[in-house]
């Protein structure tokens, strides 16, 4: 009973904070609302014994929202907490589509005859996850790791202001480097 109350409270907080993301009139507040939504979902995961995943969700989202705040200070060129904003397009279509999606998903959740639970949860859920990752499901980690590395490389390539291709040309043969402020000691 208590568990149900806690879950519904967390669920209501998560959905309300999620809706607030697109309702509040500043990006800073939207970021905080999103963080609250994620923390609520992470805590809800703790209710079903997903200790590691729930904690990782909370920690990761708090860090991600901190990065987002830095990003806004860097690029928004305004005080993001004070600037009102309403930048919406196709609002009616989006509302219709999302309400329709909710009705469809909710009908599925309520009408599908879900099977009963198959086997008992492991005693130590986190240890079981670790053993799965280091054992039978290692291929997952082996696949995720290069994807993460590729993300780092692609992120830097996209976000870097000047790369070696700007300095040396597309074939990397354009010496000396084409720099806005030539360096060196006058040698060619």
């Amino acid at each position: 009973m208590l568990e149900a109350i806690v879950f519904w409270t967390l669920g209501a907080v998560a959905v309300a904070a999620g809706a607030a993301v697109f309702k509040v009139d500043s990006m800073a507040r939207a970021t905080y609302a999103l963080a609250v939504s994620f923390v609520a979902v992470g805590l809800a995961l703790l209710l079903v014994d997903l200790h590691y995943v729930g904690l990782v969700t909370v920690l990761m989202m708090v860090m991600e929202m901190a990065i987002m705040a830095v990003y806004m200070v860097m690029f928004m060129g305004m005080n993001p907490a004070l600037m009102p904003m309403s930048m919406v397009h196709g609002r009616r279509t989006a509302l219709v589509v999302s309400v329709g999606t909710f009705l469809l998903l909710a009908a599925g959740a309520l009408l599908v005859p879900w099977p009963s639970r198959r086997d008992a949860p492991p005693v130590d859920v986190t240890a079981a996850l670790g053993e799965a990752l280091m054992g039978s499901k290692m291929l997952v980690m082996i696949t995720v790791s290069p994807v993460m590395l590729a993300t780092i490389v692609a992120g830097i390539v996209l976000a870097a202001p000047r790369t070696r291709y700007d300095r040396f040309g597309d074939d990397l043969r354009g010496h000396p480097a084409d720099d806005p402020q030539p360096g060196g000691v006058g040698r060619r």
Partner: protein, 100 residues
């Protein structure tokens, strides 16, 4: 607390995120919508795991979803930085170069 309850909350989160991803113009706000949708997927997957098949290794799928969210966030920020650098602003409507 039942599977239906978890799925209902997840459906609500997903729909709110979908609304945001479809209606927002600023790239970062679109990303927030996508994040909310992935948030809902995490919650629903956790519910499925606990109420249907709490096997030892089912949580690995959740880690994959969280990894996907990280990748989405990093690439989104990189693309938004690129758009800013090229003076295109941060609106999705302004970044329509490839559609021409």
């Amino acid at each position: 607390m039942t599977l239906q309850a978890v799925l209902l909350v997840a459906a609500a989160l997903f729909s709110v995120g979908l609304y945001g991803a479809l209606s927002q113009q600023v790239v970062v706000m679109v990303m927030m919508g996508l994040e909310l949708m992935i948030n809902a997927v995490i919650l629903a997957a956790g519910g499925f795991w606990w109420f249907l098949a709490p096997a030892a290794d089912g949580q690995v799928l959740l880690l994959v979803v969280i990894a996907a969210m990280t990748v989405e966030m990093a690439m989104g920020f990189a693309v938004a930085t690129l758009l800013h650098r090229h003076g295109a602003g941060d609106m999705t409507d302004m970044a329509a170069d490839l559609s021409r």
